[in-house]
């Protein structure tokens, strides 16, 4: 295999032999128990979308209750808690994490770095099936006696396992903990694959500093997840023991309904530290892949190289590292040592620096670019705006004195929906519009795409902008009903009703999107191999959709970075990564 290397100017010979691929023999091993990362990626994506729709439906129910209190009296306070809990947990873990890492990670990593598959396809397959079981266990809790847990997505003890919380003394909390543990085990199997594939299985010429930023984002996020999920895993184990065996890891001495409980001496704060040691990196586990993908979308659709590639890479890595030392900004009101607040506020503000660098670089990439307002580009732009917006309110909340009065108000809900709810979802949409042609060979319908975009974009602002204001008035989060309170003016109730109507409309737009996905598989315009004239490797596969093994007989060889757009003197306005230097001018 190294004989051809002499011809290739400056590209070292292959260091590893081409892999031995597993060739499925039956329909089942090809499409169901598939070991092909692309199929696994699609399985992840479909499962995540399915459970995500449940979370969406829950948000409608919550909004109905908040907008029209008293009208929908089948939504009891206990059920409202269950809805927010399941909505939050599903959105953060089972939808966003699974879709970005399991979905896009599996589909894109091998294609973008020029590999045939993940390094351990069998383990990769197991990863998906364990994830599926985790999702099923989670969904089962809706049907368990007592219903799902209503502890809030943060699952804080002691309340999470007390009888006053829905599911606390029933099945709800147990199924939630079990499901999370399964998710973590399944994720670890996949995550190890993604990391090793990026580190050790790149194509010839694909140095780390030539990788598309999408790969950098997913890679760094996966490393973070492998280090952050252990904290959640351990807290799940301990809470499970507290609940089942009556240990007191998180449970202090308690009196419930006049009864002294059999717990003593545990530390609820310990749970909060462990949870947020996972929880804050989790925000970036979702955000970093979004950062990466958005960089590629912007560069491709503005026909311009990404501005400051190296800075972008380092910013991703530094954000990843810093995000492990900011966790206690979620705990300013928890009663921890106040000096901690000082430390964590500082680190929180420091992390804004690399983040701001990324935003400037996106803007500078757009500057004087040949901007094509395609649907992926629209979503990418929407991401930048929304992320900046959420980031700015983050600076408020990162400061102790500002956070204390705002803590646990709707302001916080508005903030995190902007920054880690809406913004990454926009990237997911943009990414789907961008890569759907590669996955299916057909374009998504443009008109439907534009309607979907404008309704979602404007709608998201109409939902979450007013929510900041409601929060500033002091309306608390996680309240079933505010009731007649002196500090909440009547207009706030009208606003709440307005938000709810918007939420329903935005939700309906997602049905249009799903319809588009299904419709375009057969009816969409045929896309060809490289509809966006993009440079990165996944667009250069010999066949579209790429078959098992991706590259046919010969692996690609990489001669340049992924951002050779509008190079002066080149024949076309893009040069694919696998085009040799001598031919670039042709």
């Amino acid at each position: 295999m190294s004989t051809t290397s002499d011809r290739l100017d400056g590209i070292p010979a292959a260091e590893v032999a081409d892999v031995e691929l597993y060739h499925p023999r039956s329909w089942i091993t090809k499409y169901v128990f598939s070991q092909d990362a692309k199929i696994i990626g699609i399985q992840y994506a479909l499962t995540a979308t399915a459970i995500g729709l449940v979370a969406l439906a829950l948000s409608w129910l919550m909004r109905l209750q908040l907008g029209f209190p008293g009208v929908f009296d089948f939504i009891t306070p206990a059920e409202y808690y269950q809805f927010i809990t399941m909505h939050g947990m599903i959105m953060v873990v089972y939808l966003l994490t699974a879709l970005f890492l399991g979905g896009f990670g599996n589909y894109l990593i091998p294609l973008m770095i020029g590999a045939r598959d993940m390094v351990f396809p069998y383990v990769n397959m197991l990863s998906y099936w364990i994830y599926l079981v985790a999702v099923l266990v989670l969904a089962a809790s809706f049907f368990a006696p007592g219903g799902p847990t209503g502890a809030g997505w943060t699952l804080y003890p002691p309340q999470a396992i007390l009888s006053g919380t829905p599911g606390g003394q029933d099945w709800g909390i147990l199924l939630m903990l079990l499901s999370l543990m399964l998710f973590i085990i399944g994720f670890t199997m996949g995550g190890l694959n993604y990391v090793v594939t990026v580190l050790q299985a790149r194509a010839r010429g694909m140095t780390l500093m030539r990788m598309p930023l999408t790969v950098w984002g997913i890679f760094t996020a996966t490393v973070m997840a492998l280090l952050a999920f252990p904290a959640l895993f351990v807290s799940c184990v301990m809470m499970m023991l507290d609940r089942l065996l009556g240990t007191s890891f998180f449970m202090p001495a308690l009196v419930e309904m006049g009864q002294r409980l059999n717990h003593d001496g545990g530390s609820p704060l310990l749970f909060q530290h462990l949870f947020w040691f996972f929880g804050h990196p989790e925000v970036y586990i979702v955000a970093l892949p979004a950062f990466g993908i958005v960089s590629d979308l912007i560069s491709t659709h503005a026909r311009r190289n990404i501005f400051g590639y190296r800075q972008m890479v380092w910013a991703i890595v530094i954000i990843g590292a810093l995000s492990f030392v900011v966790w206690a900004h979620h705990m300013y009101v928890s009663g921890m040592n106040p000096y901690f607040g000082f430390f964590f506020a500082t680190t929180t503000l420091v992390i804004a620096v690399p983040t701001a660098i990324k935003v400037y670089n996106w803007l500078l990439t757009l500057w004087r670019g040949d901007i094509h307002l395609t649907v992926p580009m629209l979503f990418a732009l929407a991401f930048i705006v929304t992320f900046v917006n959420g980031g700015l309110t983050g600076l408020f909340l990162g400061n102790v004195v500002v956070d204390v009065p705002l803590s646990d108000t709707m302001f916080v809900v508005a903030h995190f929906h902007m920054v880690m709810g809406v913004a990454p979802i926009f990237v997911i949409f943009g990414a789907i519009y961008h890569w759907y042609p590669k996955i299916t060979g057909r374009m998504l319908n443009e008109a439907m795409g534009r309607i979907h975009f404008w309704v979602s974009f404007l709608g998201a602002y109409l939902i979450f902008f007013p929510m900041h204001y409601i929060g500033l008035l002091g309306v608390p989060r996680r309240y079933h009903e505010i009731g007649e309170t002196a500090f909440v003016p009547a207009s706030a109730h009208t606003l709440n009703a307005f938000i709810s109507v918007m939420a329903l409309i935005v939700g309906a737009a997602q049905i249009l999107f799903l319809f588009n996905l299904a419709w375009s598989i057969r009816r969409g315009r045929p896309a060809g191999g490289n509809p966006w004239n993009a440079t990165s490797l996944e667009w250069q596969t010999p066949e579209t959709p790429p078959p098992h093994g991706n590259w046919g007989r010969d692996l690609p060889v990489v001669y340049r970075w992924a951002y050779d757009y509008s190079v002066p003197g080149a024949a076309r306005d893009f040069i694919p990564q696998n085009q040799p230097p001598a031919r670039a001018a042709e």
């Binding site: 790149r202 140095t207 280090l227 252990p230």
Partner: protein, 237 residues
């Protein structure tokens, strides 16, 4: 962008830049590390965080509890032939586990020499030491349970003592047990010559290599190392 296209051909720069260039070079970051080994190393890193969290949690509850902590060297003492010996069982267990790391290292060495029979033999010996360790742990658990130690309470003081003890040693013991099972599977494959003939695995349908012995070894040494920390932080403190 010609410059970028040619960085590979140019001389590698020195200093910090050279460091980055080396690490980020073509195809592989770790030049002499196979995929399997890389994967095991990264898994162990992740697992370190799991054990780290367990131990930190134990130390936290040990501080948060308001009741006195039982004295480990009293609790873990045995009467042997009428002599009172603190921590004796743990000392033996630790010794057994560390010895097993030695036999594991020998197995890896024989594996490199393609010495099929001795590799298999050493793997089995390692597995026996591992099983012995788990056996002694089971004995220790039984003894404590007889004396009234439960996850939710014990006769001598803070209930977190029992909780942390059963949880952490249980979790570690599970690791050892999994290790023993893997050792036996690998031993069987070595013995049968699967790694010489490239016979495909039952589940994965792919051929294995002798390297698997070394990868199992990495896991085994890790489980050993973790025990040293548990020993120091739980039994000696």
């Amino acid at each position: 962008m010609e410059g970028i296209a040619q960085t590979q051909a140019a001389e590698r720069p020195g200093g910090m830049e050279g460091f980055v260039a080396d690490w980020s070079s073509d195809q592989r970051v770790f030049k002499n590390v196979s995929w399997g080994k890389a994967m095991m190393w990264i898994f162990l890193l992740s697992d370190t965080f799991v054990f780290g969290c367990f131990l930190l949690a134990y130390m936290t509850v040990r501080m948060s509890t308001t009741v006195a902590w039982p004295n480990p060297s009293e609790v873990f003492a045995l009467e042997i032939f009428g002599t009172h010996m603190p921590l004796i069982l743990i000392a033996i267990m630790t010794f057994v586990l560390i010895t097993s790391s030695g036999t594991m290292a020998m197995a890896v060495n024989f594996g490199y020499r393609r010495d099929r029979r001795r590799t298999a033999l050493m793997l089995v010996v390692t597995a026996i030491f591992g099983a012995l360790f788990v056996g002694m742990q089971a004995f220790e658990w039984t003894k404590l349970i007889h004396e009234g130690v439960r996850p939710w309470g014990n006769p001598w003081g803070a209930e977190q003592f029992g909780s942390a003890f059963f949880m952490i040693t249980g979790f570690h013991g599970t690791h050892v047990t999994i290790g023993v099972i893997f050792l036996l599977i690998v031993a069987r494959k070595v013995w049968r010559g699967d790694y010489d003939t490239g016979r495909p695995g039952f589940f994965t349908s792919r051929g294995g290599r002798y390297e698997i012995v070394e990868i199992t070894g990495l896991y085994w040494h890790f489980v050993d190392l973790v025990w040293v920390f548990i020993f120091a932080l739980f039994y000696l403190w």
